[in-house]
């Protein structure tokens, strides 16, 4: 439904995006996730048609909406793309009521159809009772839903959402992102979301592209991004964890201070066919997530509690290993240990993620 091929854009000589490619199939929800300034919003605006690309091609359905070839750019005007857009600040029209906001993109429709479509949309987002209210009379969450209804009303081929929940408080953000996902799935809408918040991305998206410095680092499912990050940036940006130095023993084993890890050694090391071919002693960094460290009173391996953060269901302990390395450990919340205390731990890694030094 949406395809980007080798899309690039630069501001002057400064590249904003380089070689961005991905595909969304119909009904799929994609997400571009990355720190601010990584180019994700620019990518969204390129797809919407507000920015011009300097290389590559963007297709919506079978139609080429933006392309740059032979030194000439071609770009369909934003209003001709049939793309819905939910803005970060919602950009609701303040002089129009909720119903009129939703009807804004429907001027080509006969009046009765328009009224029905507006009612249908308001019903979908659960705001039928606020049809005559004005945007400034609504709460943030309600404004958000009006923005969604307004964008969906003209039946766009593709829905774009720019940090749609960042103006809401945390609780509402989680609730609403699941709600919006349900609505999109129910209507079988292809959507692309842009955010810096991985919880939002995980809650909403089927596929996520982690972006940094204008480049998509990894385009994958949330599960794979967490468990099989392909490089240090993704490993660091997604979830928590530390990198411990280790040594490759063979293609199935890596040794770190905590012991020998068993499992297929991949990541950027094996990408080059490196570790499986290199001799013993290849030096790597191994990703250890907090849930890879298991608290076990019977274990002989002891670590000292250096910091602790109570998170309700569990504790996040920062543990100092005898060798001076630090790891994070996620431990059930009834295991309340004091700072300075030594506790037993063992490894529970079922998949080795290693990066060559």
């Amino acid at each position: 439904m949406l395809a980007l091929e080798h899309v690039a854009q630069s501001y002057g000589s400064k590249p904003i995006l380089s070689d961005v490619s991905f595909v969304l199939s119909p009904g799929q929800i994609g997400c571009l996730l990355g720190p601010s300034g990584c180019g994700k919003t620019t990518a969204l605006r390129l797809i919407a048609g507000f920015e011009q690309l300097s290389a590559g091609e963007i297709r919506i359905g079978a139609e080429i909406v933006s392309a740059f070839a032979n030194g000439r750019g071609h770009s369909l005007l934003p209003e001709q793309r049939r793309v819905g857009l939910v803005f970060q600040d919602y950009a609701l029209f303040p002089h129009l009521s909720v119903a009129k906001n939703v009807a804004f993109g429907l001027s080509a429709m006969p009046a009765t159809d328009r009224r029905m479509r507006v009612a249908e949309m308001l019903d979908l987002v659960g705001l039928s009772h606020e049809a005559e209210a004005y945007p400034h009379q609504l709460s943030g969450g309600q404004q958000q839903r009006v923005a969604l209804a307004r964008a969906l009303a003209p039946r766009p081929r593709l829905l774009l959402l720019d940090e749609p929940f960042s103006n809401l408080d945390v609780e509402l953000r989680e609730k609403l992102s699941l709600e919006v996902r349900d609505i999109l799935k129910q209507e079988a809408i292809t959507a692309l979301l842009v955010t810096h918040d991985q919880h939002e991305a995980f809650a909403m998206a089927d596929n996520i592209g982690v972006m940094n410095k204008g480049v998509i680092q990894q385009w994958d499912t949330p599960y794979n991004l967490y468990h099989q990050p392909i490089n240090r940036f993704v490993a660091d940006f997604i979830g928590q964890g530390v990198l411990l130095p280790g040594e490759v023993l063979n293609s199935r084993q890596v040794e770190i201070e905590l012991g020998v890890l068993e499992g297929s050694v991949d990541g950027d090391c094996s990408d080059e066919g490196g570790c499986t071919q290199c001799d013993l002693g290849c030096r790597v960094d191994v990703l250890i997530r907090p849930d890879d460290i298991i608290h076990d009173d019977d274990s002989l391996l002891m670590a000292e509690v250096e910091r602790k953060a109570f998170r309700g269901a569990d504790f996040l302990y920062t543990l100092k290993l005898p060798g001076g390395q630090r790891v994070l450990a996620q431990v059930d919340s009834h295991h309340n240990h004091a700072i300075g205390e030594k506790i037993g731990i063992r490894l529970g890694v079922d998949h080795v993620v290693a990066f060559r030094k």
């Binding site: 919407a48 048609g49 507000f50 005007l77 934003p78 209003e79 001709q80 793309r81 049939r82 793309v83 819905g84 857009l85 803005f87 600040d89 950009a91 609701l92 029209f93 303040p94 002089h95 804004f104 993109g105 001027s107 080509a108 004005y134 945007p135 400034h136 307004r150 964008a151 003209p154 774009l160």
Partner: protein, 554 residues
């Protein structure tokens, strides 16, 4: 030995009794509200006791012409300033074309030229004996020039002089919207051109109407321009009734009718204030690009902005300078130092008074932020809507009454005759100036005070700085720029002001503005240019101030 610090005794707290803390603010605000209430009431009283003979005369010979002239003027200027101001504001706020940055602020410069100066320059240029007309005749044998001395001419000149009011407010409104809303419209399948009419214009409407009502209030208040054109309106009629027919009742009856027009405008403005509630919620993020005009459109935009700039500012100013350099040697004499001194003195005293009163009103409102106080403050600053001619009559009558009372009482007591005590002194002028220009000073002061947040006051208090110390260490430093702006604006407005000065000045007290009036009423354009240049150059100062502190630079 360590002892616990002594708990503060009750005396260490300062309890301010509610009654006394309310008393001060209300006294100030009510006193200032009287400034507008007195002249309006005085003038309106004339309506209760109409002199039938005068009324018949006015009704038969004067009013029909005045009403027709005024209506044409209001409609023509209204449409003109709206189209010109809004169009230019949209071009410089949302589009990109060659010279946009320059025009963004340069289009404000006509504010420095009083309308009556622009008026006499254009008449001087286009009249049969004028420079342009003579040149066309001699060099090209063209005997036709635009008939400037016409209803269309007055309207055109007023539009050129007053469009910046709409330009300024509309531009701020367009910029406040950000481009996000237009993008939202586009993403919903609406083209940019249609989005302007469906989104940008409706949201900017309160701002445009606010600017429009200001421009129309200036139109109704105008005395100088219509005098130059011999175009009879209420202000010129009031002047003639008073100074040619010596009939104060006729003058005040005319003033009452004028007040009805003003009231309509005040209501229009109030309407725009009421519907402005959503304009603030539209304060979107900007960020997005301007609409880049290409080829012919860009050339048209630059050409249009240049034309307005030339007609409204550059050509009049250059012509003034040429005339001035021609006349300088023969006409600049000792009298001019008197004119200039009188102007500076009046403007200086007036500005000082305006700023002090505005500051007092600002603090009254800050200390007592209730709806009632807000209404009172609005009433007190409503004087800007009252034409100078109305204020002159409205203050002259009660002051003359008080004077007569004093003279009579004095005669009864001492059997000696004395002259006027207040009448014919600067007192009446300054009173009228303060009323008319309080709003000019109050605007910046109010914004400045609002910028000093409650939490800043509390932060200062927690750090041990309260009362007078807080005033000097926190408030005044933060208010310096707004106070300067208020003073500069009031100074220039008073310097340009014509009807109040003309009608209430002490005998023989000529200023630069009255000199311009005197010379233009004799058709001596060149000799009028000399004092006019001085007014315009001083007038440029606050424009630069305005440009520097507004968003007009971007």
């Amino acid at each position: 030995m360590i002892t616990a610090e002594k708990a503060p005794v009750a005396g260490a707290f300062s309890f301010v009794s509610n009654a006394s803390s309310r008393f001060g603010p209300w006294t100030v605000a009510l006193a200032l509200a009287l400034l507008t209430l007195i002249p309006v009431t005085v003038v309106a009283l004339a309506m209760l006791d109409p002199d039938q003979a005068i009324w018949d005369h006015l009704w038969r010979h004067v009013l029909p012409e005045l009403l027709v002239n005024t209506l044409w003027l209001v409609i023509g200027v209204g449409i003109g300033v709206t189209v010109l101001g809004t169009g230019l504001a949209w071009l410089t706020a949302a589009c990109e074309f060659p010279g946009r940055k320059f025009f963004s602020w340069a289009l404000l410069l006509p504010l420095a030229l009083p309308a009556y100066v622009t008026a006499f320059v254009w008449i001087g240029l286009l009249d049969f004996t004028g420079g342009l007309a003579t040149w066309l005749r001699d060099s090209w044998d063209i005997t036709w020039t635009p008939p400037i001395r016409s209803r269309g001419g007055v309207i055109l000149v007023m539009v050129l002089a007053l469009y910046p009011y709409v330009y300024l407010t509309a531009r701020t409104a367009f910029q406040g919207q950000g481009r996000r809303l237009l993008e939202a419209a586009q993403s919903l399948g609406v083209s940019r051109r249609r989005a302007f009419f469906r989104v940008a214009l409706p949201i900017a409407r309160p701002g445009i109407i606010a600017g429009l009502s200001l421009a129309l209030m200036e139109t109704l208040a105008d005395f100088g321009t219509v005098s130059v054109f011999n175009y009879n309106t209420f202000t010129t009629a009031i002047y003639k009734a008073w100074f040619s027919m010596f009939s104060l009742p006729a003058a005040s009856q005319l003033a009452t009718i004028l007040i009805f027009f003003v009231l309509a405008l005040v209501m229009l403005e109030q309407l725009s204030r009421n519907s402005a509630h959503y304009a603030n919620s539209a304060r979107g993020s900007g960020g997005a690009r301007r609409i880049r005009l290409g080829g012919a459109n860009a050339a048209m935009a630059t050409g249009f902005a240049s034309l307005v700039f030339l007609l409204a500012f550059a050509i009049p100013l250059i012509q003034l300078l040429i005339w001035t350099s021609d006349i300088m040697v023969s006409d600049l004499d000792a009298r001019y130092f008197d004119f200039a001194w009188h102007s500076l003195l009046l403007a200086g005293l007036g500005a000082l008074l305006v700023v002090s009163l505005a500051l007092a009103l600002g603090y009254a409102q800050r200390l007592q932020p209730t709806p009632g106080m807000q209404l009172t403050a609005r009433l007190a600053t409503l004087g800007y809507a009252l034409p100078g001619a109305v204020l002159a009559v409205g203050f002259y009558i009660p002051v003359a009454g008080i004077d007569n009372l004093i003279i009579d009482t004095w005669r009864d007591w001492t059997r000696q005759e004395i002259g006027q005590v207040f009448g014919g002194t600067l007192f009446v002028m300054l009173l009228a100036y303060s009323t008319r220009f309080l709003a000019v000073g109050f605007g910046p002061v109010e914004t400045g005070l609002a910028r000093i947040t409650k939490t800043m006051d509390e932060a200062a208090q927690v750090l041990g700085t309260t009362g007078m110390k807080r005033l000097f260490r926190v408030h005044l430093p933060m208010l310096r720029a707004p106070l300067l702006a208020a003073a500069a604006l009031a100074f220039v407005d008073i310097m340009k002001e014509l009807p109040i000065t003309l009608m209430t000045r002490p005998f023989g007290w000529d200023t630069l503005a009255t000199r311009v009036f005197e010379m233009t009423s004799e058709g001596e354009w060149e000799r009028a240019a000399l004092p006019a240049v001085a007014i315009c150059l001083v007038g440029l100062l606050p424009i630069f101030f305005l440009v520097k502190h507004s968003d007009a630079r971007t």
